[in-house]
Symmetry: C2
Subunit: 153 residues, 2 copies
DNA sequence: GGGACTTGCCGAACGAAATTCGGCGCGTGC
DNA sequence: GCACGCGCCGAATTTCGTTCGGCAAGTCCC
């Protein structure tokens, strides 16, 4: 994990579909060398996958929210079960299992604000393990790239 | 935006680096047709980019947290300024600007739990617009693909 | 109801890219 | 000082992205 590997990760986070030749040219190394470093990063588990990012607005789901949920009891079975349930919901984008005041933080996207209310009423309030929930509409959401191993942070 | 487009988006979210031929074979269409549909999706803004996903553990930042921050005053300048400041921090992964009890929700990743404390003390408590903050360690984080336009949701 | 137009799809041809592999240089350890 | 191993490079091969002409189907207008 040297500077070149960091640069590869940074570049592939910026654009995962750039050609290996372009990537090699950017880094100043041979394409074959670049290719085997990328493969090594995948094999070592540093790079876990390549994903297309989509515009939720274009997909008809412009309203995003963060749902704070408290559940009881806090047993492993209940947590895993509720997490699996959340992942099964089509509105869900991210599930955070957190410590502190809340147990779950659920990032959702729906077509309209009304659907947020429906989602809470139909999918959350009825479940027995859910003891409390709260929703926060997201005004803006910025995703950053992972820059590196925080050597100078 | 028909079923084929939805399938393309779904497949490219699963693996953005699969070859156009494989994608076309999966969908049962010709590679040329597949290619122009993918390009149309990019041009229409449905697909906004392709990104490599990395393992934060492998990058030496296994501790993740969600920071809830309240700021004052809630003017556009202060919000945009603080948001830009957050994005500049190397520990930051996601910034959510939200309505409700908190104003910002900041997703961060650091090497150790101690760094979380340092981050809060050194980068947040000193800033004048920050009136309150709270941190929640993330036990698990699951990111889901966007499945579609929620027609049957 | 029929004809022209538009739209989307297909398949072959071309250029470019990914991938493989043998060889080389450099650092390390003995 | 010498042998070994690791990483990098560059050419050859294979696969892929991309373009383009033609075709079928659906649509609009007459």
């Amino acid at each position: 994990m040297d500077d070149i590997d960091s640069a590869i990760v940074r570049e592939l986070q910026r654009d995962a579909r750039q050609t290996n030749r372009d990537l090699a040219r950017t880094l100043g190394i041979a394409p074959s060398t670049c290719l085997e470093r990328v493969r090594a990063l995948c094999q070592r588990g540093v790079i876990t996958g390549y994903r297309a990012t989509v515009d939720l607005r274009a997909l008809g789901r412009p309203v995003q929210a963060l749902l704070s949920v408290r559940i009881r009891p806090m047993s492993r079975e209940v947590i895993e079960g509720f997490k699996a349930y959340l992942i099964g919901l089509p509105e869900v984008l991210n599930v955070y299992v957190v410590a502190g005041g809340d147990d779950f933080l659920v990032h959702v996207a729906v077509p309209e604000v009304d659907d947020l209310h429906s989602l809470l009423m139909d999918r959350f309030s009825g479940r027995r393990e859910v003891v409390d929930f709260r929703s926060s509409v997201i005004y803006q959401h910025v995703t950053k790239d992972v820059v590196g191993p925080l050597v100078a942070g």
